[in-house]
Structure formats: structure tokens, C-alpha cells
């Protein structure tokens, strides 16, 4: 038998529900609504920061506005360095589609073997890996066209150096972050590099910018920098230097071309050099800006200063006679010698024949202090005030420590050291009527204001001697050019090997030449140095002077300087009738 309950007749229904129970429910619900309302007020009015921020994170973006790095221009406004867009390719390894065909294409575009690409994508823990930085823009577009998942691009800029290795040491280069590492790029990094700006925008679902919010910080582009360098002169100087270094099987070489009027550096080249865009296998030897960082004993290049000082002090005239005897002179036990016995020479002849004994005899009539003052005024032992990294001061010891023999050797350039650049600049004393002028890497319009070191008359007399030294009977005859009168002094030295200068047959040399042209009113100063020529010839007059000659010839032609000497014309007048 089954028991059933008749709900309709439940005894519970019979009892009356107390009123307070329904009131309690109503109150509870009202309280809950009050709670909701309170919460809503709290979220929307009182503490809305958090939620507003969260919202903004989802649709507001800060976009970086990259600043362009300034260009480096030569004196005629030609580009020496400029930034161009070069996308960098990166990937999230775990997101990358393992599509063999397209990955092979990608590897080909990235110019790397597929195995290398796979190796980079192997590490799935990483959420970011560079595949290749700074590829060409066209390559970037092709990669984008592959539409490979997990492979992205970042917009970056790459420095481009059209002049390549010819101007590498002047311009220098930047690293992958666009920060200057060498040369002008380093020296003027602050001016060239701009300040990037930013803007805050609201993007819609499709990633389109729909509104600007807040203030926009405009990017400040880097300034363009106009150098004093003339890219054509630079190229000629580099080309002729390279030819000479290769011809003489030398280790290295440098050339400096200065404008004798404004003190501007027209060219500064070193060999070996490098291509600034391709720096994978760069060696220290290539990187070295020898013209500025390497110092050596200036040797005979100093003789004009000693003679100039003697002239200035009225001790001699250009035609005073100096007895160099058999070409040997002993001072406190040490012997100075000339390569030939020159007998009695005029002061001019001392420079022309490059007599060590004659110069030392002149030095013996002077105080060490006087020589030291002249040398320092000419910039020796002083760091050149040039905006260039790594410029060295060379060595010039204080005169109080000079012994007599040192004073004698210093008069012809041994016992002190200087860079090729310092030597070139010191010759502005002779070219600029006795004034040493500051050298500059930046283009300047007005003639330089210099410091008077010698009188214009003495400077003129020395110029004449320099001309003789580069003329018949002088040591630097190979410096002659067609049409332009030149003057200059060559130098040759044994290089130190360990403690000594090496034994005969095992010696290393350095040959150099510093000169100017046209000699009456010099327009350019050119200094050339060839390090360790090993093909038989090693005298500065033989290895460096020919480079000087060619560089002067081309530079003056490009500057539009009219020849000051008569030349035998080789123009073959061809009187052909023009057809009408």
C-alpha cells in the first residue's frame, strides 16, 4: 500500500505567514541594490583611476616619433653619411609557423643557411629573437610579403657611406644603435643625433589612429654637419696614397691636405682603410687613423724651424756661410753626421741639402728655451685643437732637461715626436706669413686668424728655401709638379725595433714629405707619410714626394688655381670645321 501526501492539504499552509518575513526579504533585496549602487558610485566616481587606466591600456598607445640622425656633408654639400631606413627582422620562436617552403624562402632572403635560421628559432623559451638586423628595405618588403606568422619587423635606420673607404677615417661610423663610434660620427655624435619625440593616440579595433590625446612631443632631427673636407680631393689623396703604399710594399701610409689660407682640412686619408658599411672583419690596423694618432720623430721637417729661428733672431741671413766640413760633428762625445760631406754651405744650402751638421751648428748658437718656445708655438707637444677623437699631442720635453747633444738632435727633428697632422699644421707658419693658424674639420668661410710665430719676411725666406729643397739639387725633387711651384721638406727615419734601430739589412724605415704650393702664395699644404716601405726605396724624397706631387697637382686643379710657372704646352690644336 502506498502512502501519499496531499500537498494541497498541507498543514503548513494552514498557518499564516508572519509579515516580518516578507519585509525581511524586501529589506535584504533593497540592501543588495544599495550595495550595488554604492559599488557603482565607488567604481565610476570615487576610484575610477584603475579602470580608466585599464581601459586606456587597451586602446591608447604611445607612438615613438623617431628623429633622423643628421647627415654629414662635404664642403660642396655632397653626402658623406646619411641614414636610410633598414628594417630589422625579429621573431617569436614558439609562434613561428613551421612551413618548410616559406622558411627556406625566408632564409634565402635573410642571406643565411636554413640550418642557421632553424637554430635561431629552436629556443622556444625565448619570446624574442633577432633574425637579422638592418636588412635592405626591399628585402624587408619581400619578407613582409611572405606573411609568415611570428615573424615581425622593426623600423630602424642604417647609416650609408657613399664614399666608402676613401673617407672612412674622416667620417667614421655608427653602431647598430645609431650612435657614433669613430671619426666625425663620434666627435659630433651629440649634434648629429636628434631627440626622438612621442605622441599618445587612441587606436580603434583595426589599429587605425583615430584621435590624439594629450600633448605631442615633436622629434628634433639631428643637425646636418658640413665638413671642410672636399670629397674629390679626399678621393684623389686616398687613391694616390694607396697606389704608393702598394707600389713600395709599405705597411701603411697617411696623407693630410690643409687649406693654407683657412686652415680647413681638405682631405685626411690613411691606408689601409675599411668600408664603413661592411665592418665584419675589421682589424685594428685598418681602423687606425694614423695621421692623427701615430707620432714619430719629425726629422728633417724640423730643420726649417731651426733655420727660421736663427733668421728671426738675426744670427744669420739666408746667404750666411756655415761650414759643415766633412759632415761629422762631435758634441759631448756623440757624433752627428750627414749622408754626404757638403763642405761650406749657405743657410739656404743647409735646408736644400738637408744637412744635420749645419742645423746643429745653428742650434748651438741658441738657447734651449728659444728653440722650445718656437717649437711649442708651432704646435709641437700641443694637442691640436681639432674636433676629432684620438688626436695626440706628441712629445716635446721641457727645455730645462735638454742636454747639449739633445738640443743639437732636436734642431733636426730627433728627440721629439709629432703626428703627421701636427707637422702639416706647423707648416702653416711658413705658408701663412709667419702665423700658425688653427686647423678645422668644419667648413669655414673666412680666412683663419693665427698666432704670429715668425715675421712675414722670415716666412718668405723659408718658403724660398723649401722651394730649393724641392728643386734641382734638393732632397725632394720628385715633389715637382707641372705648372705649380712647390716647396717642402722630406724626412726619413729608421723605425725603432725593440730598443735599437735594427741592424743593417734588417732595418725598417719611415719616409715622409711635408710641403706647400704654389710657393709664393701657398693655397694648400700637403703632408704624406709612408710607413715601412720595403721595395728598395725608402727615402721620404723617393716614396712620399711623388704622392705629394700628384695630390698637389690634382688639388690645385680642382680648386681652380692658375699655374704660376710656365709650362710647355702640349695642346695639339686641331682645327676641325664644325659642321653646320
Amino acid at each position: 500500500m502506498s502512502r501519499s501526501i496531499a500537498y494541497t492539504s498541507s498543514p503548513l499552509l494552514a498557518s499564516r505567514t508572519p509579515v516580518w518575513r516578507s519585509k525581511l526579504i524586501v529589506a535584504a533585496i533593497a540592501l543588495a541594490f544599495l550595495g550595488l549602487a554604492g559599488r557603482a558610485v565607488y567604481i565610476q566616481v570615487i576610484a575610477n583611476d584603475f579602470f580608466q587606466k585599464q581601459g586606456e591600456v587597451r586602446f591608447a598607445r604611445t607612438l615613438a616619433l623617431p628623429a633622423n640622425r643628421g647627415r654629414v656633408l662635404d664642403r660642396n654639400g655632397l653626402i658623406l653619411a646619411s641614414s636610410i631606413p633598414a628594417p630589422s627582422i625579429w621573431a617569436i620562436p614558439e609562434d613561428v609557423e613551421r612551413d618548410k617552403v616559406r622558411l627556406t624562402q625566408l632564409a634565402k632572403l635573410l642571406d643565411m643557411p636554413l640550418s642557421e635560421l632553424n637554430k635561431r628559432l629552436e629556443n622556444e623559451d625565448k619570446s624574442f629573437v633577432w633574425l637579422k638586423r638592418q636588412v635592405d628595405e626591399s628585402v624587408g618588403q619581400e619578407i613582409a610579403a611572405l606573411r609568415l606568422k611570428g615573424v615581425y619587423q622593426r623600423k630602424e635606420y642604417k647609416r650609408q657611406y657613399p664614399e666608402g673607404e676613401a673617407a672612412a677615417h674622416v667620417v667614421g661610423f655608427t653602431n647598430v644603435e645609431d650612435i657614433g663610434q669613430e671619426g666625425i660620427e663620434l666627435a659630433f655624435n651629440k649634434e648629429l643625433g636628434g631627440r626622438s619625440g612621442s605622441r599618445r593616440v587612441i587606436k580603434d579595433r583595426l589599429g587605425r589612429v583615430v584621435e590624439d590625446v594629450g600633448e605631442q612631443i615633436a622629434p628634433v632631427d639631428g643637425q646636418d654637419l658640413q665638413l671642410s673636407v672636399d670629397s674629390k680631393v679626399q678621393f684623389v689623396a686616398y687613391q694616390k696614397l694607396r697606389e704608393a703604399v702598394l707600389l713600395h710594399k709599405a705597411k701603411a701610409g697617411s696623407v693630410v691636405v690643409l687649406d693654407a689660407i683657412t686652415g680647413e682640412v681638405l682631405a685626411l686619408a690613411n691606408y689601409p682603410s675599411y668600408v664603413p658599411d661592411k665592418r665584419q672583419s675589421l682589424t685594428g690596423a685598418q681602423l687606425r687613423n694614423r695621421a692623427i694618432t701615430d707620432t714619430f720623430e719629425p726629422g728633417s721637417v724640423m730643420k726649417p724651424f731651426t733655420v727660421g729661428l736663427a733668421l728671426e733672431m738675426g744670427r744669420i741671413t739666408p746667404l750666411s756661410l756655415i761650414d759643415t766640413g766633412t759632415g761629422r760633428l762631435t758634441i759631448t762625445g756623440s757624433t752627428i753626421s750627414d749622408t754626404h760631406a757638403n763642405g761650406v754651405l749657405t743657410a739656404e744650402g743647409v735646408i736644400q741639402k738637408s744637412s744635420n751638421v749645419g742645423t746643429a751648428k745653428l742650434a748651438m748658437q741658441m738657447q734651449p728655451r728659444e728653440m722650445w718656445e718656437l717649437f711649442s708655438q708651432a704646435g709641437f707637444g700641443q694637442k691640436p685643437k681639432i674636433s676629432f677623437p684620438g688626436a695626440v699631442s706628441g712629445k716635446l720635453r721641457p727645455y730645462k732637461t735638454w742636454r747639449p747633444i739633445e738640443q743639437a738632435t732636436m734642431s733636426y727633428g730627433y728627440g721629439l715626436s709629432a703626428s703627421l697632422f701636427q707637422m702639416a699644421r706647423s707648416y702653416t707658419v711658413f705658408s701663412h706669413d709667419g702665423q700658425l693658424i688653427p686647423a678645422t674639420m668644419l667648413k669655414s668661410a673666412e680666412p683663419a686668424v693665427g698666432v704670429t710665430v715668425l715675421s712675414p719676411r722670415t716666412a718668405g725666406q723659408i718658403r724660398k728655401m723649401l722651394q730649393m729643397a724641392a728643386g734641382p739639387g734638393g732632397t725632394g725633387q720628385k715633389a715637382q709638379t707641372i705648372g705649380y711651384s712647390v716647396g717642402g721638406k722630406s724626412g726619413t727615419a729608421y723605425k725603432q725595433i725593440g730598443k735599437g734601430y735594427g741592424s743593417a739589412g734588417n732595418r725598417k724605415y719611415r719616409g715622409w714629405f711635408v710641403g706647400m704650393a704654389p710657393i709664393e702664395q701657398p693655397r694648400v699644404i700637403v703632408a704624406v707619410m709612408i710607413d715601412e716601405p720595403s721595395a728598395g726605396q725608402y727615402y721620404g724624397g723617393a716614396v712620399a714626394a711623388p704622392v705629394f706631387s700628384e695630390v698637389v697637382q690634382q688639388t690645385l686643379r680642382m680648386m681652380g688655381v692658375q699655374p704660376d710657372m710656365a709650362v710647355v704646352p702640349q695642346i695639339v690644336a686641331k682645327a676641325e670645321e664644325e659642321s653646320l
Binding site: N68, L78, I79, S82, S83, I84, P85, E137, Q160, P162, E163, G164, A166, D204, R208, V209, V210, E211, D212, S231, K232, F235, V236, Q239, I482, G483, Y484, Q553, Q554, R557, Q562, P563, A566, V567, V568, P569, Q570, I571, V572, A573, A575
Partner: protein
């Protein structure tokens, strides 16, 4: 009274809809402007890139190589240069060939 209220309600609705429309339009135009700006920047960098490329094609190294190899030219010297005086009628400084 009700009529005025109804009219005001309609006016509010109309203006609200118009506001939505204007907002939409302004965002669309802004997107367009932004795209145009990006395009102008891209063209600017393109110009820069092409300038560098042009310059790379005209470096002294390349010009000289082409002049020497393809055009068989050679470097001038004062010996084969005829210099003209600055003053009209003045004699040239350096004797040359026939003018």
C-alpha cells in the same frame, strides 16, 4: 506641455544621433590624415634613400673608373689646359694652343 516635452525629446535624440555621426566622421578623417602623414614621412625617407643612392652612383671613385675605362679619358695637366684671362681681351697667362 506634453507637446513641448515631446519636441524637446525629439530634438535631444536628433542631436545625439548627429553627435555620434560627427564623432565618427571626425575619427575617419583623422585616420585619413594620419595615413597621409605616414605616407609623407615614407616618401621623405624614400627621397633620402634615393639621394644617397644617386650619390653612391656619382662618387669620384666610380666616375673616374668609368671615365677612364669606358670613355678613355685621362687626367688633365696644366700642359694641356688653355687658361683664359679674367679680363676680356687680356692675354692668357700661360701659353697654350690656338684659342
Amino acid at each position: 506641455m506634453i507637446r513641448i516635452n515631446l519636441m524637446l525629446l525629439l530634438a535631444v535624440l536628433a542631436s545625439a544621433l548627429y553627435l555620434v555621426n560627427v564623432q565618427y566622421e571626425s575619427r575617419r578623417l583623422y585616420t585619413e590624415l594620419d595615413r597621409a602623414r605616414a605616407e609623407s614621412r615614407r616618401l621623405e625617407t624614400d627621397k633620402e634613400r634615393l639621394q644617397v643612392e644617386k650619390r653612391a652612383q656619382a662618387t669620384p671613385a666610380r666616375v673616374e673608373r668609368l671615365a677612364k675605362l669606358r670613355l678613355q679619358m685621362r687626367t688633365t695637366t696644366p700642359a694641356i689646359t688653355h687658361y683664359m684671362g679674367d679680363v676680356p681681351g687680356a692675354l692668357p697667362m700661360v701659353a697654350g694652343g690656338m684659342p
